[in-house]
Symmetry: C2
Subunit: 388 residues, 2 copies
């Protein structure tokens, strides 16, 4: 049997059906009920009880002290950078192994993405190698890390919890303290993922979530900012709400604000989805376990598994071709997609995209190697209900 045929047979065995999308949302809770209530209330837009409710539920679930819901994960990241005081030409350390929004948000601030490498253990930023790299290229001047080669300040680092698998945040926080970096945690994919019981996105100065249609829960489009203290919360809420000053009828604003508030309609969907999240997490773990068992007898591929003390949401399961088998990637992608089993490779590495190819970067060999070996396979919570 050809390797792609083996992959197809193992996926089918795990999901119990012949074809599958990569990731579909599941609406089997109070979604329609909430939407009806939202429409009946006539509050569908930036004001309404579902926005508050959704923010409160997220606070409760993640353990973040405060949450602001916004239109999408990209806008959450943008606001996190703006609010952190990122200035034009500041360098921001980001993984090249990420969705393009991570880099785009940096560019919206006219700041400079500086690409750093990941580790295979987590698929996220590698604290050890980044530490060594910063010692080599950086110098601390007046409490600010400066890139010796570009003379620009290196201001922040954005670890991204790839496919829901937690980054080594202890290591990242150590680096941030040593080099005086702001940490903005890109938890767009990791709602429901924890490190030693603490939710991803709550370790950094700010964290962000996404509720895009392909995420573990969806609000249509949506995102959120996870915030540690009330002062930041109030200011970020203000910044995302056109910086309007409270008055019963006057319209006045005190800074350049953004129209990034999540509409109540989308929050209504989000509230129902969030109620189902614990169940989705179970279903996704069951699916992962099925995959784990099915793929255990193949010698050319491994399934990515959470590390000790890390609890992944298994948002998107990842097969990793074993070293020496990367030549199989294109054939597996073509064959699976050809018969209706949607699979995908990792995003093209950000530092290779035309608009990002001339920005600073460290050696990115691990990202390059994993780019050639990772394949995501169908991971919808709705694919499986058993094994509870």
């Amino acid at each position: 049997m050809k390797e792609s045929e083996l992959i197809i047979s193992r996926i089918r065995k795990s999901i119990g059906v012949d074809t599958a999308n990569l990731h579909e949302p599941l609406f089997d809770g109070n979604e329609l009920y909430n939407l009806k209530e939202c429409i009946d209330s006539s509050f569908v837009s930036s004001v309404g009880k579902f926005v508050d409710k959704f923010e409160n539920k997220l606070t409760e679930f993640t353990g973040s002290k405060f949450v602001v819901a916004v239109v999408n994960g990209t806008s959450a990241l943008h606001i996190a950078l703006v609010y952190s005081g990122i200035e034009p030409n500041d360098e921001i350390l980001i993984p090249t192994f990420s969705f393009v929004a991570t880099a785009n948000a940096v560019r919206y601030c006219n700041a400079i993405p500086h690409f750093v490498d990941i580790e295979e253990r987590t698929l996220g930023l590698c604290p050890k190698r980044i530490n060594d790299y910063l010692i080599e290229i950086g110098i601390i001047k007046n409490n600010v890390l400066v890139n010796k080669y570009t003379q620009r300040p290196i201001r922040a680092i954005i670890p991204m919890h790839c496919f829901g698998h937690p980054v080594d945040m202890e290591g990242i926080i150590d680096i941030a303290k040593r080099f005086n970096l702001i940490v903005i945690e890109d938890a767009a994919e990791s709602l429901g993922s924890f490190i030693k019981g603490r939710h991803t996105g709550t370790f950094g100065n700010l964290g962000i979530l996404s509720f895009n249609g392909n995420k573990i829960i969806t609000t249509g489009g949506g995102g959120a900012i996870l915030i540690n203290n009330e002062n930041d919360f109030k200011k970020i809420k203000h910044l995302t709400s056109t910086a309007k000053l409270y008055h019963k009828w006057e319209f006045s604003h005190d800074q350049v604000g953004y129209n990034y508030r999540m509409p109540n309609l989308n929050a209504a969907l989000g509230c129902a989805q969030l109620d189902s999240l614990p169940r989705f997490l179970k279903q996704k773990r069951n699916l992962y376990n099925n995959y784990k068992e099915s793929f255990s007898d193949l010698n050319f591929v491994s399934l990515f598994s959470e590390k000790e003390n890390f609890q992944s949401n298994y948002w998107l399961n990842a097969l990793i071709l074993n070293p020496g088998f990367q030549h199989l990637k294109e054939d597996i992608l073509a064959e699976t997609n050809g018969i209706g089993i949607m699979t995908r490779p990792v995003w093209n590495l950000l530092h290779t995209l035309p608009m990002y190819k001339d920005f600073p970067k460290m050696n990115l060999d691990i990202s390059q190697d994993l780019f050639e070996r990772v394949i995501n396979i169908p991971s919808s919570a709705g694919l499986i209900h058993g094994n509870n």
Copy 2:
């Protein structure tokens, strides 16, 4: 009777009830049906048939050749400026008599809002006085209008159809031709407003609409870009969709894109709302007629009416205190809001806001004068159904 009491009695006579919000949406069509269909399809996010349908319906209604739906009016304006090639330090002519988003979108591009004045006849930009002003301060160098005093290029003009009342676009287009300006038409408030039968937002190089909760139709949050040709349409669609290149499974992007796509869930609501728009327009015109009649006997105030050849959507009715009666404004606002009839003044003039006070401006006496005299009164389509 005190003037504020007269105002209250005339409003109550016109709307037939004792209290009213300023503007509420009306969901008495297929809203819930569409939302259910959207949820059932599982496509709630950036892909789905309602987005295409909504764009097509908007194309049909406005007569614009192409339409791209986005997350809100602010993002539509931002994209229109980005796509038009606005560069940092370009000056952009905008009314000071507008919602803050008009200026904010300019600042997102690091461009310079240059505030210009309106005329009482339309509540929109005054072509004659702006023409004279540009002759005075501008000089054409290499086909580019340059501000003699700042040496910065004056690149574009953003007429805004205030409260739904059309600006004198013929006059604006004349100026744009004379001074080589890009015209971006801010039709956020004027869906359903026409000039000689042609829809507002279709006169400029690009136009934008808003479907915020307070607009004539709503998608929760939403906006659209009105586009004249297919090439621009394709490029703008690309720019608002993270600039992702089409591929069955690969993720690649060729420029810094934006995550501004309208989610399918919001478009589902929009499709139902758009079906009701012709009826809303009638109801709003009926309400305007009621107000017109009720206020006709008061000597200190006038109701704003559309000009010949201009067809207003009467999104937000505006009372204008007659010259000499501006001292009544605060009392009328306090008394009406105090008893549950929501009214509001115009936005604080943009050039008076702290973040915009140091930007260039022409003499803004008319804006200042009207700021002191305009009061918006309840204008929901749902307030009235009769007189068809």
